[in-house]
């Protein structure tokens, strides 16, 4: 007769349950950076905004009762079950439809900038679904993914990274959120690619490799003349196979990294499979966009990819963009010193804004009213000269002031890179210097708590 040691058995069960619950807690509620979802929010709203603006001339045609899909036809051509659209019943005439469309644009704009982020994102999602449900026959896969990303943004706890709402809180502490929205997004992509792959394998052309050649000769999709399609045809098999392998590879993301590390050779263990797939995805979907007109699909995919970026991915990106900077400035302390007036409210806000968009971590805020800091970072500059305009000092000792300082800073702040070509134009500098001088001249000077207009 076997004697069961009951207390021991219970202890093991208790320990197992505790470990299981800890694992589940960590799996769904481990804290991650919310920056990826913040960027995804901006890209999502921006993509819909551009699509809606591009289709402005067809808003009444596609969505109103007097367009190509009259309300009277809705019961016969649209699904009736579990469907709701404001445009079915409440808003059907052209002018109200245009008004609702304008409201959607406004909500998207606010969501993109991060004004009343949660509310505007929710309203954008509801209105987007209303427009989509009103006329589903003009939609493509990109529109489906927009709705899915929108739903995820609505239920995600923190979507206010990179928002004006955050700026108002005056906090530079990184935002974190539970990992479960990230996991939902990742699984959504896995479902997307795997069901797409399965569907493709049911046909003939994906298996025999002729898809690319065929699609490139389809005049409704291909952007270039037939001769280009003819020249690209020999690559059809390899491109088709590569795309299928890419889609299949997403299933590997279900395997935990700890198990991966056993299977991979030593040198490859530091590489992230997810990052490789994202890079390949950018390559494939950019190619689709470059060669074919299939709507907004590629851009929506890129928006979704942003949501899959974690803190470690941002670190890798930062190191990549800082490669040249670190080569030119090898010391750890090499940063751009931004000398600002710590007693001036406008300067404090400007400095806060600069630091919040300093994604590459190249800036150092130096309050020149602090004698110790001034002596350390700019001993040759006087308070009087620094008081006239914002100054920056590069690691190589070069100093820039005012508008010129701003122009140099723009090259080091990814959010301002888009302005760099414009700021380099010859006629911009004189105008910029004048505008800067006017703004700097009007700022309140605050000395020992007492402020007076200059």
């Amino acid at each position: 007769m076997v004697r069961v040691d009951r207390p021991h058995y219970l202890l093991h069960t208790h320990l197992f349950m505790k470990r299981l619950l800890t694992f589940i807690d960590r799996f769904f509620f481990e804290k991650i950076s919310a920056s990826g979802f913040g960027l995804m929010r901006i890209a999502w709203a921006g993509t819909i905004l551009v699509s809606m603006l591009g289709g402005a001339s067809d808003v009444v045609r596609y969505y109103s009762g007097v367009g190509i899909s009259p309300i009277s036809f809705a019961p016969f051509v649209l699904r009736n079950a579990y469907r709701f659209s404001i445009l079915d019943t409440i808003v059907t005439d052209p002018f109200p439809v245009l008004l609702l469309w304008s409201t959607l644009l406004w909500c998207l704009f606010c969501s993109m900038l991060g004004l009343r982020t949660r509310l505007m994102t929710f309203l954008s999602f509801v209105l987007l679904c209303s427009f989509h449900e009103r006329n589903i026959y003009i939609l493509n896969s990109g529109d489906s993914l927009l709705r899915l990303i929108g739903f995820l943004l609505v239920i995600t706890p923190r979507i206010d990274a990179f928002s004006l709402d955050r700026l108002q809180q005056r906090s530079l502490a990184p935002i974190t959120m539970s990992i479960w929205p990230y996991r939902l997004l990742l699984w959504q992509f896995i479902v997307l690619y795997l069901t797409s792959l399965w569907d493709k394998l049911q046909g003939v052309m994906w298996i025999n490799g002729g898809v690319i050649a065929s699609v490139f000769h389809h005049m409704d999709y291909f952007r270039f003349p037939k001769i280009v399609a003819d020249l690209l045809s020999p690559f059809s098999f390899s491109l088709t196979a590569a795309f299928l392998v890419f889609e299949l590879s997403w299933i590997l993301l279900l395997i935990p990294r700890k198990i991966w590390r056993f299977a991979l050779p030593g040198r490859m263990q530091n590489y992230s499979l997810k990052r490789c797939l994202l890079i390949l995805g950018i390559f494939f979907h950019s190619g689709i966009f470059l060669f074919m007109n299939v709507g907004n699909y590629s851009f929506v995919i890129f928006a979704g990819y942003l949501g899959l970026l974690l803190a470690e991915d941002f670190d890798v990106l930062r190191n990549f963009f800082n490669t040249g900077w670190k080569r030119r400035n090898p010391t750890d302390d090499a940063k751009i010193s931004v000398l600002y007036d710590g007693s001036c409210r406008l300067c404090q806000r400007s400095m806060f804004l600069l630091l919040s968009i300093d994604a590459l971590h190249r800036l150092r805020a130096v309050d020149f009213r602090n004698p110790a800091l001034l002596k350390k970072y700019a001993p040759d500059l006087t308070e009087k000269s620094l008081d006239r305009a914002l100054h920056i000092r590069l690691p190589d000792g070069k100093t820039f002031a005012g508008f010129d300082a701003f122009r140099v800073l723009a090259k080091h702040l990814p959010a301002l890179w888009i302005t760099v070509p414009f700021l380099a134009l010859p006629f911009v500098s004189p105008i910029g210097r004048r505008i800067y001088a006017r703004i700097a001249g009007k700022r309140h000077a605050c000395v020992q708590g007492s402020c007076a207009q200059k």
């Binding site: 045609r61 939609l139 899915l148 739903f151 569907d199 003939v204 000769h217 399609a229 045809s233 059809s236």
Partner: protein, 163 residues
């Protein structure tokens, strides 16, 4: 996410795998539809369409039919191309959507300010891309030219615009 997975698998379930998923799908589909999470990732699958299409909207002016509008990939703007061609593909492909041809044509009457009673029709030209058996041959594709067939799909007349 489980609901999304089951919904998606059912929609690609052409080969009849996992029939037991129909039961949970029946209960999960309402949730998916109400939250607008319905999805189908069948772009260019199982095989991309090989049908080339040109839609010509013709009106009768002075007793003869003349081209009023040409709807194909080359004559539509970037933002308009995908939704417009998708819409026309859908109403051509599914008999239940055939009734939508009439409002589509009436919309042309409105936007082109055609007089009520003007005869108007939709002529469709169609060609089929060859099955790319010799996929590596530039010459085969270079020699290929589409063989168009055409027919009148829908004839009607412009109705007065209701105030």
């Amino acid at each position: 996410m489980a609901a999304v997975g089951i919904f998606s698998i059912q929609r690609v379930n052409r080969s009849g795998i996992l029939p037991w998923l129909r039961i949970p799908d029946r209960y999960l589909s309402p949730y998916i539809l109400m939250t607008s999470q319905f999805q189908s990732w069948d772009m260019f699958s199982p095989d991309p369409t090989r049908r080339l299409k040109e839609i010509r909207i013709e009106t009768m002016q002075n007793g003869t039919w003349s081209l009023s509008r040409l709807v194909d990939g080359k004559h539509l703007g970037s933002f308009k191309r995908a939704p417009e061609l998708k819409y026309l593909d859908m109403i051509q492909a599914y008999p239940s959507l055939k009734p939508l041809e009439e409002p589509y044509i009436q919309d042309v009457c409105r936007s082109d300010h055609l007089k009520p009673g003007t005869p108007i029709r939709m002529r469709i030209r169609r060609a089929v891309l060859p099955m790319p058996e010799d996929r590596n041959s530039i010459d085969a594709w270079r020699q290929w030219r589409p063989e168009w067939s055409e027919w009148i799909d829908h004839t009607t007349s412009c109705t007065p615009i209701s105030s």
